[in-house]
Symmetry: C2
Subunit: 336 residues, 2 copies
DNA sequence: TTGTAGGCGTTATCAG
DNA sequence: CTGATAACGCCTACAA
């Protein structure tokens, strides 16, 4: 029922009613000092009467800026890690009086180029591309010169700033933590093999185990769900030398713990378990799962800053990995 | 480091390089037929060379429309229900080639008026206000005449279209379902007392129990967490006549089940349990929780439609309650 | 097939 | 303190 596009009242309409020039209305609209109180009052009255609202389009046209950042994300925003990141980017934007425009990427074939193209037609001053699974054109992507571009990625990119949680650091931190507790036989129960988050955490585990001269047993991999954790748990339950298990997320960690307990293995008395994401708080009664919490707030604010305040073009592109923190709870203890 | 606002290349720049008029460039940019191939080629080359991107501001200024809808939500977007709704609104927008601009409302005092005011300064053709806890100015809110406004609310509003999941229907559906299984002693274990979702589900329970002449025992209330569910479960475990429990969300339902089982009460053999939200899939190993799933996709698409395609002003404001569906799993069985 | 004029709503600038 | 003018980038309407 196409109603008329914009019956919007312009500054000129207000000016006419108030009996002043358009410029004066503009001054009032922008809170200029240089308007006589009486005039100001008349203008405000006219605005009110007409229901004046400044045109975003006209203002941006003049200003050349929008005060909006764009965010591209895959359609399944609510998946564990991503939704929090999303929320924190939104918060960072709000803190700076920016709005956030979301572009959902539905296609199976995630492409930075395509996401960026969609963004180019929108009113954004900068863009943040957070396309989880590494897009196939990651290497070859050339950001538009007119929009500062930030990628949420663990990998560096020659032409774009990049930010990410430090997944490798997470893996290493967890190993070191368990080692300091006295563990040596630390197993890795991962998520989806090809997921970047999984790859990073796994790499951190391998690295730290090697650095510390600890024995590296074959890792297991699941699909991030509790059931897959349970399956891995039944296997690990038969591993008699294992004293600690590093599970790549909390959901799977719960599954692992169920399986261990069913096999008569106590947690943490017999085997320690630690997860990642700190996502189970309040979800399972009286489960005090040790975990690793990422600093998504920081990732969000860094991404926002880089998108709105890009580094000089000739400099090296920043690559920022944000560390998280270990949350000690009761599923980890020294080995028997 | 305020770089120059917009070093953006305009249609005129392209025109100069291509040796044509601005109008011709415009034609090419909009895929007009009436351009000689050779000319078109030259223009495209010039565009490419200069990195031309059409100005959103200028286009909207002319068109009087933005192809963007605004969404206001409280900052804790990730809370169970809300994030899914958010996701589905975003999806509906994407389906229609609209972008979605998010405005986060941080304040404790949620106000429709304030949310709307922030929206007025943004490039949106319509707005969806989804401020969970009923805002204090719900009754008195007057939407701006220039922006079609949709509220996500179970209540009707005199001046705005409203959409929501049918919480009361949910409550009634669950009672009827359990009753058809043969249950009469159906208890209600709710969430936060004052939460609209809780109030709706509770009201549906009361209504359906009354309509069917079933005995209404005192309801219990928690805070949506598993631990609060557990506490309610310990109380319900002592209720010998109870044969079925309607828990207002899945997280609490898990807590209830834990408590029952610890008290030696089997689920579903002794007592049936059903939750709401269908949010525990894949989270707890081998838990097959019966639940009620809302149709957030529909809520999202209806909200979007109403925001972009508002009803004529003189008509009654639409109030749409979207029903969900029961998901039968293994925590419900006929009573002993 | 291509070009010219005008205006969308705003604000910077300069004149009064 | 207030007003006139011009320009931001684009597109509709009309003219060539």
């Amino acid at each position: 029922m196409a109603r008329k596009p914009n019956t919007s009242v312009s500054i000129a309409d207000v000016a006419k009613v108030a009996g002043v020039s358009a410029q004066t209305v503009s001054r009032v609209a922008n809170g200029s000092e240089a308007v006589r109180p009486a005039t100001k009052k008349r203008v405000l009255a006219a605005m009110d009467q007409l229901g004046y609202r400044p045109s975003f389009a006209a203002r941006s046209l003049r200003a050349g800026r929008y005060h909006i950042v764009g965010l591209a994300m895959p359609s399944n925003i609510s998946s564990a890690g991503r939704r929090i990141q999303f929320e924190n980017i939104a918060a960072a934007a709000a803190d700076h009086q920016y709005a956030l425009t979301l572009v959902q990427i539905n296609k199976k074939e995630l492409s930075l180029t395509e996401a960026s193209r969609r963004m180019e037609s929108l009113p954004v001053d900068g863009q943040i591309l957070g396309l989880g699974m590494e897009p196939y054109d990651f290497e070859s992507f050339v950001p538009p010169s007119s929009i500062p571009t930030v990628l949420i990625s663990q990998r560096t990119h020659p032409l774009c700033a990049t930010v990410s949680n430090n997944q490798m650091g997470c893996g290493a931190d967890i190993v070191n933590y368990l080692m300091n507790k006295g563990h040596r036989e630390i197993r890795f129960a991962g998520g989806r093999r090809e997921a970047p988050a999984n790859i990073g955490r796994y790499a951190g585990w391998v690295q730290a185990m090697q650095d510390n001269g600890l024995p590296i047993q074959d890792p297991l991999f699941g699909d991030w769900t509790a059931d897959s954790g349970y399956r891995m748990g039944t296997i690990l339950a038969r591993d008699k030398s294992c004293t600690a298990i590093f599970v790549a997320n909390d959901t799977m960690a719960v599954g692992v713990i169920y399986a261990l307990r069913e096999a008569g293995i106590r947690v943490p008395e017999d085997v320690s378990v630690i997860g990642v994401d700190d996502s189970m708080v309040g979800v399972i009664p009286r489960l005090e799962l040790s975990s690793y919490r990422f600093n998504d707030e920081r990732v969000g604010s860094v991404a926002f800053d880089l998108a709105t305040n890009p580094p000089a073009e000739d400099l090296e592109m920043p690559h920022i990995l944000v560390p998280g923190t270990l949350v000690e709870r009761s599923t980890v203890a020294p080995p028997r």
